[in-house]
């Protein structure tokens, strides 16, 4: 570094530092009062137990990998050799939705395949008819950074939340002048920010994930906590419900680099995958429910096979070095769309592992991406304040 400092700042000598360098705050250390001999022994024992647990952890992890490898008789790309290649794609921005005054953080489709709800950093939640680009409803939340929003299956309500640590449900109205905030219902309460929310198969239950490291299932009518899901070591950033006939599982991804599959009935984690190298920003089930994809700050998307219990594909390129914020599958599962922090959208061939298209248009990071319910288009939301519909 000094060498080209000389070249590029020849007669400029740093006789003083423009400002003081201050190191990052050190890891939080607990304040301790002087230890009694008993406490000291206890502490040593606790540390030993923890160390022992950690060693056991490593051993068990290796054993699990061994077991998984025993049944691994073929790679995805080998199976994909027999499958036809994909043709050229022409995907364009068909609609640009302008109206948010700040970063768009999240969006969700209505089951009618044309309406969407979106939320932004300035606390605004807007319901649009994306087909006509008309704004139909707008709500101002009492907090900024509304990181999660969801459309109810009936199309009659939306849920949202963020830095207020809550998830609230707003019933929608046909009367444009009605103040939606008046009928707002506070449903979920976490101890840190709300990162994602989703209705289950009806308007009566909501599944949430939070910066407090937990996910939770709530009864909308009463606000009662039905089930909580503990097991992530850090912020949970995303979740997705399984599209299966039983509909009893969901997957979550967090800052601990783990993607966990949960049983909604018991609250237990039934499967876990830890192959990403950084925070997992987005998880989405494969349409059959037998696999799921994840997108992470490590700039890769990955596919996990639930029946084989392993990671089966990594979607990455040398030239892609910025994080993935959001992923979703096309209707058949053949295409995986990823929204990236370098403002682009990459489209991957799920089977062959190649990138089939790259889309430009947004002027800041793509923060959210969802394919429409009938698969005719996908919508992206960006920190450039806009949403785009692509088809």
């Amino acid at each position: 570094k000094t060498s080209f400092n000389c070249i590029f700042n020849v007669s400029f000598s740093l006789r003083f530092k423009p400002f003081r360098r201050r190191p990052l705050p050190a890891q939080r250390k607990y304040m301790r009062s002087p230890l009694t001999p008993e406490m000291a022994t206890q502490e040593v024992q606790l540390n030993e137990t923890l160390a022992h647990l950690k060693t056991e952890s490593e051993t068990l992890k290796s054993k699990l990998e061994e077991e998984r490898a025993k049944l691994h008789d073929v790679e995805l790309h080998q199976v994909a050799e027999k499958v036809e290649g994909l043709g050229q794609f022409v995907m364009k921005t068909r609609r640009t939705l302008k109206g948010h005054g700040n970063k768009v953080l999240c969006m969700d489709w209505c089951k009618d395949k044309r309406r969407i709800v979106s939320s932004s950093q300035d606390g605004k939640v807007i319901v649009w008819d994306a087909f006509t680009t008309n704004k139909e409803h707008a709500v101002t939340m009492p907090c900024t950074w509304v990181m999660a929003c969801a459309y109810a299956p009936s199309g009659c309500a939306v849920a949202c939340g963020g830095l207020d640590n809550k998830c609230s449900v707003y019933p929608l109205s046909l009367d444009k002048n009605e103040n939606l905030a008046a009928k707002k219902k506070s449903v979920a309460m976490h101890t840190n920010y709300l990162s994602a929310c989703s209705f289950t198969n009806s308007d009566m239950q909501i599944l949430t994930s939070s910066g407090d490291g937990t996910c939770a299932l709530w009864d909308v009518e009463s606000g009662q906590l039905l089930q909580s899901f503990h097991g992530h070591a850090a912020d949970v950033l995303c979740l997705d419900l399984a599209p299966s006939e039983t509909g009893n599982t969901f997957v979550s991804g967090g800052c601990d680099k783990k993607a966990n599959v949960w049983d909604m009935r018991s609250g237990q984690c039934i499967q876990s995958f830890e192959t990403h190298e950084s925070d997992i920003n987005s998880v989405r089930y494969y349409p059959s429910g037998d696999a799921f994809a994840s997108g992470s700050d490590d700039a890769t998307c990955r596919l996990y096979d639930l029946r084989a219990d392993r990671e089966v594909a990594i979607y990455s390129k040398e030239s892609i070095i910025f994080g993935v914020s959001s992923v979703d599958f096309s209707l058949s599962g053949r295409l995986l769309f990823g929204g990236y922090n370098d403002y682009t959208i990459n489209v991957w061939d799920v089977l062959k592992g190649t990138r089939v298209s790259i889309l430009f248009g947004h002027e800041n990071r793509v923060s959210t991406l969802r394919v429409s319910p009938d698969g005719t288009a996908f919508c992206t939301g960006s920190w450039d304040h806009t949403l785009r519909i692509w088809a």
Binding site: F8, S11, P23, S57, D73, A80
Partner: protein, 467 residues
């Protein structure tokens, strides 16, 4: 306004490596001197030269290299000399300079508010009224909340200002550009998109110790759990894709046309919930699995017609009632459970379902203290029955063959550019989901009143609505 710092340092190192290589006298981008008023700024490069260099180095098309170039500006490794507030790289003769490493985004230190205050104060000393409106707002705010340190801040600012005056003019101009670029990236004005603007803080592993024990139990269970051979599960993934290939609008044309592409919403109108005549594609999709058939309410209607003819509607009715219980409000649970017991499970019940003795026993016992998953076993049993037997008989039945024949295959649209223009001006508004939902509820109520035996699904949702 607490925002998180950039955390992915592997990425920073990659970027730094590339930026260093770009400045290599042998293989890097060629710069030149540029005259700016009376001073000459050294080592200035044009955007298009940078982008071409990146495209060659990373072996990517120009568009992607352009994106990468923009990211280098957004992170503050390169700064623009013109339009300094727009942190993008332009693929033309716009001028850029490499930022001095001192000002690179670094993990070791953070630009604090007091540093920003010193910077703004220094510019204020240099020339009053030099601050932009957004900077003035920051300055006033910092002056207020850093008031206790203000003497120190002014002292530092004055010292820096004096030291700056002693530099040669060319160096001073360069340093001012660098410093200004640094603060645009770290305290971006409202319309500027900076890559260091990260969003709320995220925590890494604060609970790690607490969950380690939990994970060990999980690993032990996971080791024991049965797994499927890769060839089998991957084969299933491929099969799914092949089955749905023609139904994927990104892979096969949507008939009559994709509404988003032609601005004509016929596709949605033809596929509404309660059409008399569904489309051929929709009917085909019902045959893919029982789950598909039941998920499409129009398909479920057709299935019910078949079941009525077979006098075996109770299985589906039970399944629907169990769904209503599972996804209903917590408060409605006991009422629903009771109704279900009376209708389907009690000895001599009007719609008694034929499940094996063990499951029946467990279910009835569970109903004494109903919870939302109390019917899980029975529901699964009934679903499997329908899936393995009834569903296949339906697909071979006259009911299904009939609807297959009747189903329509819309002609693909072929709009002229003029027509497309017209379409975009006349986009249909469709029916609002709230109205559709109200209509659905009315239909359900009518069906409940008209049908005998009782339409349990309608009754269930009526109980929900009452609550």
């Amino acid at each position: 306004r607490k925002t998180g710092r950039v955390r992915d340092w592997g990425k920073q190192r990659k970027l730094e490596g590339i930026v260093v290589e770009m400045q290599d006298p042998q293989v890097g981008v060629k710069g030149s001197d540029q005259k700016l008023n009376v001073t000459t700024i050294p080592h200035v490069i044009a955007g298009q030269e940078i982008i071409t260099w990146i495209a060659n180095k990373m072996k990517t098309p120009l568009e992607e290299a352009h994106v990468f170039g923009t990211m280098l500006v957004a992170y503050g490794y390169i700064y623009p000399l013109q339009n300094h507030k727009k942190l993008v790289m332009s693929n033309d003769t716009s001028l850029y300079r490499f930022q001095t490493p001192y000002f690179w985004p670094a993990q070791k230190w953070v630009p604090e508010d007091s540093d920003y205050a010193i910077y703004l104060a220094k510019r204020n000393i240099r020339k009053k009224g030099m601050l932009e409106p957004y900077e003035q707002v920051h300055y006033n705010h910092l002056h207020e909340w850093l008031n206790h340190k203000w003497d120190f801040i002014v002292m530092q600012a004055t010292e820096q200002y004096k030291a700056g005056k002693e530099r040669k003019k060319a160096d001073r101009v360069v340093f001012d550009c660098q410093e200004r670029a640094y603060w645009i990236v770290n305290r971006p004005p409202r319309q500027t998109h900076s890559a260091l603007d990260c969003g709320p803080e995220r925590l890494i592993d604060p609970n790690k110790d607490e969950v380690t024990g939990q994970y060990n139990i999980f690993y032990q269970q996971a080791i024991m759990r049965s797994k499927v051979k890769s060839s089998v599960s991957l084969g299933a993934l491929v099969k799914y894709i092949t089955t749905y290939k023609n139904h994927d609008a990104f892979l096969a044309p949507c008939l009559p046309s994709n509404p988003w592409q032609t601005d004509n919403d016929s596709y949605w109108t033809l596929n509404m919930r309660r059409v008399d005549v569904p489309t051929k594609m929709r009917v085909e999709r019902w045959s893919f699995s029982l789950f598909e058939l039941l998920s499409d309410l129009r398909g479920r209607d057709d299935f019910k017609i078949f079941l009525k003819k077979e006098f075996s509607g109770e299985n589906l009715a039970f399944w629907e009632a169990a769904e209503e219980l599972k996804w209903g409000t917590a408060s409605s649970m006991s009422t629903k459970a009771e109704t279900i017991f009376k209708t389907f499970l009690a000895p001599g019940a009007p719609r008694w379902i034929n499940i094996d003795g063990r499951t029946m026993g467990l279910t009835v016992k569970g109903l004494e203290h109903p919870h939302r998953y109390v019917l899980e076993a029975a529901q699964t049993h009934v679903f499997l029955l329908m899936k393995k037997d009834t569903f296949f008989r339906y697909l071979k039945s006259p009911v299904y063959k009939d609807i297959q024949k009747k189903a329509r295959n819309p002609e693909p649209h072929n709009f002229s550019p003029n027509q497309l223009e017209q379409n975009s001006l006349n986009r249909g508004v469709g029916i609002h989901p709230i109205i559709l939902w109200q209509q659905e509820e009315e239909e359900k109520a009518k069906a409940a009143a008209a049908s005998a035996p009782v339409d349990v699904k309608a009754m269930m949702s009526k109980i929900d609505r009452k609550k």
